[in-house]
């Protein structure tokens, strides 16, 4: 059994109810038209790949269907915390 805490349902749920979406805290550029192609490509495609703590976006797909963030250790796979979009993580590298 592998359970993940959903900060919206406020309880642990089976991992199969969730999907990982990718890196969290990526802000959309305020004025995309003002960006160079390289900057736009960086926003769209370039992602961190850290060894250690990583902030990720997840969705409780078969549940409340809300997005939230997870701080996860990419070495041990340990989930340090889950927190709502807009909140700041307590664990930072």
């Amino acid at each position: 059994m592998f359970s993940i805490y959903c900060p919206h349902c406020c309880e642990y749920r089976e991992e199969e109810e969730f999907h990982a979406i990718g890196e969290a805290h990526i802000a959309r550029p305020v004025d995309p038209d003002a960006l160079t192609d390289a900057e736009w490509a960086s926003y769209l495609y370039i992602r961190k790949n850290p060894r250690g703590l990583h902030h990720e976006q997840w969705v409780h797909a078969i549940g409340c269907r809300k997005f939230f963030n997870i701080t996860r250790d990419t070495v041990s796979y340990e989930i340090k915390e889950t927190y709502k979009i807009g909140e700041a993580p307590a664990f930072v590298a």
């Binding site: 919206h8 349902c9 406020c10 089976e14 199969e16 109810e17 078969i62 409340c64 269907r65 809300k66």
Partner: protein, 212 residues
């Protein structure tokens, strides 16, 4: 620009049910089972599986912390919206929490349009209300073995301590998903998508057979 009309809720609404002058017949997603019903209905004290077809399903979205929203709901539904993972049953309605800003209201099918109208008249500002009656149906699993059937059908813990009466959970059910509401000690309501109703019905039928 902000549309003043939004405040007046000038939204096109229609009664999804045809009136008597139209020669049309409502069909539940399990209508095709009718011809085999003597074979497919399970109804014993141990385990019973029934469909509650043709209910009105209204999906309401809004900010639960907004006082105007809360007041309007209370005025029309005469009760508060259920909190996280809860469902409530009144004489005319059942309401279950779906997500922090989303609730599913079930009522008699022919009352859905009237209820939608009343809610739209009372609600102001930013909200959403959608009649999704045609998109899903309700299955009732009951009997003292209902709990055993669910235990092998969902990964969610359906024990009394984690799934008390009045709880509503959207989770996996067999290879599909459902909103599972516990109505009383031995009665569970499963709200399933129309397109999965046939699969889930047959799955539950099979899963129940050892408890008949």
């Amino acid at each position: 620009m902000f549309d003043k009309n939004l405040e007046k809720n000038t939204i096109a609404m229609m009664d999804l049910l045809p009136d008597a002058s139209v020669n049309a017949r409502a069909e539940s997603p399990l209508a095709h089972l009718d011809q085999f019903h003597s074979h497919t209905n399970i109804d014993t004290d141990s385990i019973s599986l029934q469909e509650k077809p043709f209910l009105g399903h209204l999906l309401l979205r809004g900010n639960a912390d907004n006082t105007a929203f809360k007041d309007a709901i209370k005025k029309v539904l005469l009760c508060e919206l259920p909190k996280t993972l809860a469902c409530i049953y009144t004489n005319e309605l059942s309401i279950c929490w779906v997500s922090p800003d989303e609730w599913l209201i079930l009522c008699e099918g022919d009352k859905a349009y009237k209820l939608e109208k009343k809610l739209r008249e009372a609600l102001v500002g930013h909200y959403s209300l959608c009649n999704i009656s045609g998109g899903q149906t309700v299955l009732v699993l009951s009997g003292h073995h209902a709990h055993d059937v669910l235990m092998k059908s969902t990964s969610y813990d359906v024990a009394d301590c984690s799934f008390p009466i009045g709880k509503a959970v959207t989770t996996t059910l067999a290879k599909s998903q459902a909103i599972i509401c516990r109505k009383d000690k031995t009665t569970w309501e499963l709200i399933v998508r129309r397109s999965f109703a046939d699969y889930i019905w047959h799955y539950l039928h099979d899963a129940s057979s050892e408890f008949k």
